[in-house]
């Protein structure tokens, strides 16, 4: 006999009364704190144009996004997080930001497809986004707001991992690396924590055609390129111009590095990644990279009473490279990543809005926090 009973979907869960109460308490306590601190509580649709989330980040979330065609034949997604929706809301209502209401908080479910038995696909978040006229200096306020949301819910024993994508990018630029290598290293920073990091990075860079075998190889001039590929360049180039293609080809063949230069960059990058809480004040990069704001952030955390051993400086932390461009942080509770955030000044532009504002946000995954509590 065919089993005709409808069951709950895999990786989704019902919430019983006591868990629901715990989740709502966490949500209400946090929102009350944030509203008292000047954040405006808003809500956005659970379903949005798929493009909103894809533009924000294909790499980290799109593969995990529930995307489908709706009855009006539009590609739509269940929100995988709130940030893009809040930015759409805020920058569609720019007058409100100009009038000083650039602080928003939210709560609700987000949906991320994970093909494993260890996590659920509908999770609950509370979070906040801060849109600032000041380009920097306001970050400690937002990080501390995230921490206070934990503390107000009696979460005391958490750790905070701090990184700064902006400092790493600036450092890579100062090393004189071309764009391809800068993006390559930023994407692969975590590999530097492996034992055989040099081999891993080199083989990956070779696979990506970033390494050339001989420094003395001759490069073509732009005119020579045009002549050599005249037939190809006459064909339809789609959205790109003739010069754009030639310029990029020229840059591509002239920007490959030889293996020894590549290895030297790895060593220098490793020096930056060796910075920790003890040596951050005496590191040799301080003057050239301007650690001032980053150090102020650390000081604010220490002043707030966070123990030194609960703060970890980790320059390999990037969270989501597609849009973070400054401080990033993870909140860890009982070895579970329960939240985090960072600075993402370019996101409004990626979504098609004009913006001279700086943006910083965080989210706390209440479901993950409750899992950590239950595992205790």
């Amino acid at each position: 006999m065919k089993d005709n009973k409808i069951k709950i979907l895999k990786s989704f869960q019902d919430t019983d009364f006591s868990s629901l109460r715990l989740r709502r308490d966490f949500e209400i306590n946090s929102l009350n704190y944030l509203i008292d601190s000047g954040y405006v509580n808003i809500d956005t649709p659970v379903i949005e144009s798929a493009d909103l989330f894809f533009r924000k980040s294909l790499g980290s979330t799109s593969g995990n996004t529930y995307t489908f065609t709706d009855p009006q034949n539009q590609q739509v997604s269940l929100r995988p997080d709130f940030t893009a929706s809040i930015m759409r809301y805020a920058f569609s209502n720019l007058k409100k930001i100009e009038n000083g209401a650039g602080k928003y908080c939210y709560s609700g479910p987000v949906f991320r497809f994970e093909n494993n038995d260890e996590s659920y696909n509908q999770i609950y978040q509370i979070g906040a986004e801060y849109i600032s006229e000041r380009k920097h200096g306001y970050e400690p306020e937002v990080v501390l707001d995230a921490i206070k949301c934990l503390e107000i819910n009696n979460v005391k024993e958490f750790k905070i991992n701090l990184g700064n994508v902006g400092i790493v990018r600036k450092y890579l630029d100062k090393l004189g690396l071309n764009n391809s290598l800068v993006e390559f290293f930023l994407t692969n920073l975590k590999l530097l924590n492996l034992k055989n990091y040099e081999d891993e990075l080199l083989s990956k860079a070779k696979f990506q055609n970033l390494i050339k075998s001989n420094k003395k190889s001759d490069n073509l001039s732009k005119d020579e390129i045009k002549e050599k590929f005249s037939i190809e360049l006459e064909s339809n180039l789609g959205s790109r111009s003739h010069d754009e293609v030639v310029d990029r080809y020229f840059n591509k063949i002239s920007s490959q590095v030889i293996e020894s230069e590549f290895n030297e960059s790895i060593l220098k990058l490793k020096e930056l990644l060796n910075i920790n809480l003890e040596n951050i004040n005496i590191n040799s990069f301080e003057s050239e990279l301007n650690f001032e704001d980053f150090e102020k952030l650390i000081d604010s955390l220490l002043d707030f009473g966070i123990q030194k051993n609960n703060i970890c400086i980790d320059f390999s932390l990037t969270r989501n490279l597609a849009y973070y461009n400054g401080v990033v942080f993870d909140l860890i509770y009982k070895n579970e990543l329960i939240g985090g955030g960072g600075k993402y000044d370019d996101l409004p532009k990626m979504l098609g809005y004009k913006s001279d504002y700086s943006c910083f946000g965080f989210a706390i995954n209440i479901s993950k926090f409750m899992d950590a509590l239950n595992n205790e």
């Binding site: 006999m1 764009n179 993006e183 360049l233 339809n236 789609g238 959205s239 990029r248």
Partner: protein, 235 residues
């Protein structure tokens, strides 16, 4: 009335002919009253019904438990049901319907040869607040494959036909489509990336995970016969 075992086969194209031939080799002779009829039978068996449907619809038909056994392209199944626990691939390669899911760019893009060029180009687009757009009929499959390359900032746009013209008309910058010989791409001024084969597809047998008990003997018999000429066995 007793429920019958329902087998779904492609109604047209190379997968249809291949399926009919494959069933015949498996000693399962399909009969139907006319070529236009979408329902048929297995000769000598009244407890099995054959339905002919578009190969693209068959994965969902089997996954939803409407049908019990289906033949379709591996690409179609993985696009719609890769992570489903309601159905599975029972024979992965029937030895026909071979094709590749390939990323192709305008042939005049002399600066783009591989996926990493695309990643870099996507960052350049991002730098001017634009997105590199990829048109495909297989958004799920393409997205999952591209993820493995740390791809950021490529927006997938869904399209149902005439993909090769998408870059020319400005609907998308590049495409990812199924190709057998690559001839149509070439004729439309597109070149596949050197490492742009995202996926090799072929005809496969898919089965529902909820086969009614009283159909189980027929079900296992059919699968056994199909496997007897199949290339791989992973039921």
């Amino acid at each position: 009335m007793n429920e019958k075992l329902k087998i779904f086969l492609p109604s047209s194209g190379s997968l249809s002919k291949g399926s009919m031939d494959y069933f015949e080799k498996s000693e399962l002779i399909i009969t139907k009253e006319s070529d236009r009829k979408l329902v048929g039978k297995i000769k000598g068996s009244d407890s099995i019904e054959i339905y002919f449907q578009r190969s693209g619809d068959i994965p969902v038909i089997i996954d939803r438990g409407v049908g019990h056994i289906g033949v379709t392209g591996l690409d179609r199944y993985l696009e719609h049901c890769e992570n489903s626990n309601l159905s599975k691939i029972s024979i992965e390669d029937l030895g026909f319907g071979d094709s590749n899911l390939v990323i192709a760019v305008p042939s005049g893009w002399i600066d783009v040869d591989n996926i990493y060029d695309l990643i870099e180009l996507s960052y350049e687009y991002k730098g001017r607040s634009e997105n590199l757009k990829l048109a495909t009929k297989y958004p799920n499959l393409v997205r999952r494959k591209l993820e493995k390359y740390d791809v950021h900032n490529i927006v997938l746009v869904s399209a149902s036909g005439g993909l090769e013209a998408a870059p020319m008309i400005g609907y998308a910058d590049i495409i990812a489509d199924i190709t057998v010989t690559g001839k149509t791409m070439k004729e439309n001024n597109l070149k596949p990336l050197k490492d742009g084969v995202l996926f090799n597809s072929q005809a496969c047998v898919i089965t529902s995970n909820s086969i009614p008990k009283d159909l189980n003997i027929d079900f296992l018999n059919i699968i056994k016969k199909l496997k007897s000429v199949g290339k791989s066995e992973n039921i």
